[in-house]
């Protein structure tokens, strides 16, 4: 029995289509844009140096890796998972690429391929363990974090990697890293964010991630291939880690030290949750993640520029996490009541 026999003549499809499209934003984005705008205005008033290219450009460069990895982390958290191994993965990808560049003067695209390929592999390892191993993501990624760090430290062999050539400078802080004043790494990040936003809203695969995070069992029963999708989320995160590692090398000096990547996983998670993605899964926004990363880095940079002790930045990050997630909770509660 076909469904046509049960329906009457359909109204204009376009009007209804617009109605059943998932919302493009979660609502948190507007709050964040407002807060960021206010912060920038205030900083502009109290430290005029803030709104100059000299200050904004490095800011954008510092935002790029966090936001980039944040896109992958958003995918992962939407599936009700998490990945605390990205710090270790950054370290590993960075040291492998750096050493390769030092020992064999490889061209840019080879360096990128190595970084992204390695990152993808690490992400797929996580994905496989989580999708097929029936273990909680937080536990297994604590484990792989240690393993990645171990391998990275072995590759380092000494405390630093010196003499890194400027192959990756196109992603760096210098003149080579900019076009029309916009840092390339930031521009690439924005492109990735937009592509991810489109994927999450307009493709079945993207919508399935929300389904998996909302009710994994129902997803399986509905015929969604849960395990491959989960692997995609973690694999993507890994690949983005690889790319971000290149950005990080480029924005540093010609020396890479072992602290690279340290603590980054928490920074990325902070950006994601501030951006309005629910840690419980099923709901999220990559645009929010980008804004969250902008907010966190603005706070960090602003604190330095105001001449305050730089550690205060962390305090503000903590406070912003509370405020951001708090408003998200309030919004959710209001929506449930209606």
């Amino acid at each position: 029995m076909s469904i046509d026999e049960r329906t009457k003549a359909a109204p204009p499809a376009k009007a209804t289509a617009r109605r059943i499209l998932p919302s493009p934003v979660t609502g948190q984005e507007f709050v964040l844009i407002g807060v960021i705008a206010v912060l920038w205005v205030l900083l502009g008033i109290f430290t005029p140096a803030f709104l100059t290219p000299n200050s904004i450009q490095p800011l954008l460069v510092s935002i790029a890796p966090i936001a980039l990895i944040g896109v992958g982390m958003t995918f992962v958290i939407i599936t009700a998972g998490i990945d605390v191994s990205v710090g270790g993965a950054i370290m590993l990808c960075a040291v492998v690429v750096a050493k390769t560049m030092v020992s064999a003067d490889v061209p840019l695209f080879v360096a990128l391929a190595i970084a992204i390929g390695l990152g993808l592999l690490l992400g797929l390892i996580n994905g496989a363990l989580i999708a097929y191993g029936r273990v909680h993501a937080i536990i297994i990624t604590f484990g792989t974090a240690n393993i990645f760090q171990f391998v990275a430290l072995r590759v380092f062999a000494s405390s630093t990697v010196n003499g890194i050539p400027g192959t990756l400078d196109v992603f760096g802080r210098g003149e080579a890293g900019r076009t029309f004043g916009v840092p390339h790494s930031f521009a690439i990040t924005v492109v990735v964010v937009i592509a991810a936003w489109w994927y999450l809203r307009h493709t079945a695969g993207g919508r399935h991630l929300f389904a998996i995070g909302g009710n994994a069992n129902a997803a399986r029963l509905a015929g969604i291939k849960v395990q491959p999708r989960v692997m995609v989320a973690y694999g993507l995160t890994g690949a983005l880690v690889g790319l971000a590692a290149c950005f990080i090398i480029a924005s540093g000096t010609s020396t890479l030290d072992q602290a690279v990547g340290s603590g980054k996983e928490l920074q990325v998670i902070a950006a994601v949750v501030i951006g309005g993605t629910s840690i419980l899964g099923g709901r999220g926004s990559v645009i929010g993640t980008l804004l969250g990363a902008i907010l966190v880095q603005t706070v960090t940079s602003g604190v330095t520029q105001l001449g305050w002790p730089s550690q205060l930045a962390n305090l503000f990050v903590g406070i912003f996490i509370i405020i951001a997630v708090g408003t998200d909770l309030l919004r959710e509660r209001a929506r449930r009541k209606s």
């Binding site: 009457k8 209804t16 059943i20 919508r207 929300f210 389904a211 399986r220 015929g223 969604i224």
Partner: protein, 523 residues
Amino acid sequence: MSAETTLATETYRLELRDIVKSYGGVRAIRHADIAITPGTVHALVGENGAGKSTLIKIIAGAEIADAGTIAFDGQLRSISSTSDSIALGVQTVYQEPQLFPELSVAENVFVGREITKAGRVDWAGQAAQMHGLLDTVGLPESLATSIVGTLSIAQQQQVSIAKALASDASVLILDEPSAILTDPEIEVLFTVIRRLTAAGVSVIYISHRLDELFRIADAVTVMRDGETITTRPIGELSVRQIAELMVGGVLSESRPKDAGTSGATVLELTDFSREGKFSNVNLTVRAGEIVGIYGLVGSGASEIAGVIYGMDKATSGTMAIDGTPVTVKRPSQAKKLGIHLLPANRSSQASFSFQSIGLNIVIGELGLLGRIPGFASMRRQRAIADDFIKRLAIKTPSEKQPISAMSGGNAQKVVLARQLVRRPELLVLAEPTQGVDVGAKEEIHRIISGLADEGTAVLVVTSDLGEVLRISDRILVIKAGEIAAEFTGEATQVEILAAAAGADPDAEIEIDIVPTAQTETPT
């Protein structure tokens, strides 16, 4: 098997033969045969643990049989995943709506089978298909964009059915669909089912409400202990016969309780109301009396229980315990007043799944575990637990076993024991035998009667018609938040159902409903 010749059809829509399934060392299905004719409603009944859910899971592709064959329209098929069965036209609507609370109704309907155009989801195409679909299941069109998490449970189930319809199912499996629906909603459900079967869809209908089957089913298969015992056209069996086949014995006749004398009034509700849930409820329960409130989900019955126990607040009216007006603000206060409550939904509201039976029993009265307040001794816990295991005939090798390893009936006894550790003055039982097999059901009813005989005031809130008739001294029928009728002494199922539906008992109710245990054949 003789079952096949009785049904007298040539090609079955779905046919399973010689199915065997084990988990670990346990045979969930010893041997199952089932054959579904196109365009019929085929009921599947059996106690918990009989193998119904496993059989359904095999059909749905959520499990794979160890042995046996599956055939669709005469063709042998292999189902090794849910996508396989979905591709063959099987759709399942589970008891717990398997929906995505953060996605819209429209998305939920299409999830897993999105219409795509060049990689992107074709929203316009999906919108066109949505049109009229919600109407068919009795939901307003405007709900298409609502987020599923904001809908009521009954509405969510309707969405599940819409989802099944949208996929052009050829076999629709409904697992206990009426458990959460009100009577008008059940009527809509049956209308939808009849429309489907008229168009050739086969429906497999699982239900514990044996009386319902006579309203909707064409054939019934009874399972027991992992085997399909028999398959017959619905007209050939009575409710009693089906129940006996399920249990493997002959049901006892007599009511388990003598209507004894009752004592002082323990609970009195006057004009008791909670805005939006129930209003102007007047009822009394005396010591030694069992008052039954019959009401389906949404009628307000379970909300009354919740307010009496302090989980919610009344918005007007008074409640008195032993003559003294009280306002119960929280469960701990209710317990101090001697009010104990067995929650309706065991898995979400009562069971501490991987904790021991012992902890599950004593958790309500931790103060009894130690001489000094705040301290708890395992010895005392064990003693209390063992005592109740004996008293309530709970089948377990030890009180250390986790409650998750028990059958529904035994687990329910554990939760019931919890309410009895300190003898209550007023015992409120919400759906006391939901999800419990026939044998344990009878034992629990006997326990409840015994309590009343010893002087406890008992209030049973249930949507099980047979239960409320068997066990109550007085029956109150709740409909739409108000007491619709009160029955003392004899009452028939027809009268009670009518009161619950708000209809005239002499008109409209189809004659072929509810043959009671006393009659032999349905008309």
